[in-house]
Symmetry: C2
Subunit: 389 residues, 2 copies
């Protein structure tokens, strides 16, 4: 059956690959580059087939085995292991799927459209024998292309199912309607509401005179800081993370950091999850998607609180660490290259292990609802020595 698939697919592959040679209207620099790479890859495969050799696609291995923490860059980087997908009888179906997905990506870029990952899976239902039977392999082929072409999948037209979180403060988001009308959202004019970061932030532009971004773990604390107009008093942008930040939130903050030189200060609960899941993901990315670290990780980020030392200094109400908290801390100390690179982090995690307690960011309300706004955060922002790297 796979052999039959190869026979069936070679002519249609050839047709698909050839049509990539045409020149198209270009909508944006990243999309232009992405399209060029798709066309080049398609041309290479076409040439191989014409010459009678097997077409190939190369991508970096997307796992921890191919990752190293680069202390200089402050992110995980690839150590160069590659996977090669060659058209063989066994690989016929996934090879055809990869090429169909390249075609679909180019179609999305040509029409200035997008597809969510879930939509892409259902679109494949029309690909005859190259259709996917499950969404996971479909996502995986899109991630292969992301790695092979070295573009964010958003730049290839594939957007996440999940949107981003909320933003207020000294920021104007400049967006364009499909008809080319410019939309300007002033994030100082949203009242108790906020700007909801869309699933795809690649097409947004920003104007800002803020001094920094404050990224906040919980929606409750974000509501507090927004109600007190913290962003006005401290000339900043507030972004909620809502737990481990979604891809759109990470990319949004990363772009503000890189393109507008904004420092990123992070305010989480004082607990292993806040440090090793939320903050770590924002700062260095996840080991599993190491090929994306350069585009999503924010090595400039700093944790301003709640640190283990804050729990002592501010005499905060605490909860005892649970078994899984202790396990997470020990695991971080032993296995996490990020933690191992920073003695400050090793000390902080060891301090928490000794104290055997954690504290939530709202525990500052012990001193009154406005304490976090009027005392804690201003003092912490002033004093870099109390931050964690």
């Amino acid at each position: 059956m796979y052999f039959k698939l190869v026979i069936i697919n070679i002519p249609s592959m050839l047709f698909l690959l050839k049509t990539y040679g045409e020149i198209y209207m270009i909508s944006s620099a990243a999309r232009e580059e992405a399209k060029k790479k798709i066309i080049n890859l398609a041309n290479d495969m076409y040439e191989s087939i014409i010459k009678g050799s097997r077409p190939k696609i190369k991508f970096p291995v997307r796992s921890l085995t191919n990752a190293r923490f680069d202390a200089e860059k402050g992110t995980f980087t690839l150590i160069g292991k590659e996977k090669v997908r060659t058209l063989t009888v066994n690989q016929a179906k996934i090879f055809a799927q990869t090429i169909k997905m390249m075609e679909f990506s180019k179609e999305l870029l040509d029409t200035n459209d997008f597809s969510t990952l879930r939509e892409a899976y259902y679109v494949s239902k029309n690909w005859g024998e190259a259709r996917f039977d499950d969404q996971q392999p479909s996502n995986s082929v899109i991630e292969d292309l992301e790695a092979a072409l070295d573009f964010l999948r958003e730049e290839l037209g594939f957007i996440p199912e999940e949107d981003g979180s909320s933003v207020v403060g000294h920021l104007k988001v400049i967006d364009k309607t499909p008809e080319g009308e410019e939309i300007n959202v002033d994030c100082t004019k949203l009242g108790s509401g906020a700007y909801n970061i869309p699933n795809d932030v690649t097409k947004l532009e920003f104007e800002t005179d803020a001094d920094f971004i404050l990224a906040i773990e919980t929606a409750g604390m974000f509501a507090r800081l927004n109600a007190e107009k913290f962003w006005k008093k401290h000339n900043c942008i507030l972004a909620s993370l809502k737990g481990v930040p979604a891809r759109a939130t990470r990319r949004f903050i990363k772009r503000l950091n890189e393109e507008h030189d904004l420092p990123v200060l992070v305010f989480t609960d004082g607990d292993p999850y806040g440090y090793l899941n939320i903050y770590r993901t924002l700062k260095v990315g996840s080991g599993k998607a190491v090929h994306l670290a350069g585009k999503l990780a924010i090595p400039d980020a700093r944790l301003i609180g709640v640190t283990p030392q804050d729990i002592v200094d501010y005499d905060l109400p605490t909860h005892p660490l649970k078994e899984h908290d202790i396990k997470r801390l020990k695991d971080g100390l032993k296995n996490d290259d990020f933690i191992k690179t920073f003695p400050e982090w090793q000390n902080a995690l060891n301090q928490m292990l000794e104290m055997k307690v954690r504290a939530e960011q709202q525990s500052l309300a012990k001193y009154g609802l406005k304490y976090v706004v009027e005392e804690y955060l201003p003092a912490k922002i002033e004093d870099e020595k109390t931050w964690l790297p």
Copy 2:
């Protein structure tokens, strides 16, 4: 120890209760009413104590045992069971906590401030022996007050930790800064982004000339409909639900429905979770918080899709039902008063049990990315016969 607590607390209780007699500046009608009720309750308790009898607080039992589905109203209603909390040696601590929470609520209303549930718990750390040792009992006392006073806890100054989801379309949200400046957010001018519904929507006002609200299960489908400007073509408001809708989202949609007579059309996946968790929560509320049904449930809501019949009519790609899906459907048919009230729903769930499959809302992408916008939704919106009640 509890006895000591009673002794300690009676004088401070009396002081607290007495100060409630004063007259305060009133910020809004609901807050004025809420404050009056707090003061009346406090006065009653004060009178009891002065007369030498035990003070009492009454609240409706907040559980399914006190709930009945009212087919006429279309929501769960209370059947009148009451719980009485009397000051006894055993109840001394929780009684003191309830009174301290009433005081805190009044303080929030007086200062036009709010507290998240988590903040309230930490504020209690200053209440001496009346402090809470855990957040759950603290939340529970707030819910007692909500039930006893028959006000939403937001109207008592307590807001949820969780914010609401996202909204775009023909809607202006009118908000006020604490300084009284009016903020007007035009939800047609947010580009690919959206208005993020805040944790507390009680203070918002709305202007709209929309014909209906379309409430959408997934953020991915919301992004699709927003990108295609579905709200413009169909003069409506789009609200994402992001799974089972948060309290703020439910109240936001409910207010648009009640105060602006907007029909609420709901678009979920065609599966037991979409029907019996997401849609059911929005429409009739949860059995556990039955005292809130009148303020959060939206009996006018209608499910426009994906219905089991749509799976047949549109020949959608499906996934087989899992064991827990089948269990959920059978449980709904057998035990859910809402389902038992509507033969249409019984037929729909039985049909799904027979078909043994479910379909996601994105499965319409089988016919192309724009099919949902150009064909499916317009046809469904036109044809009420295809909806479920």
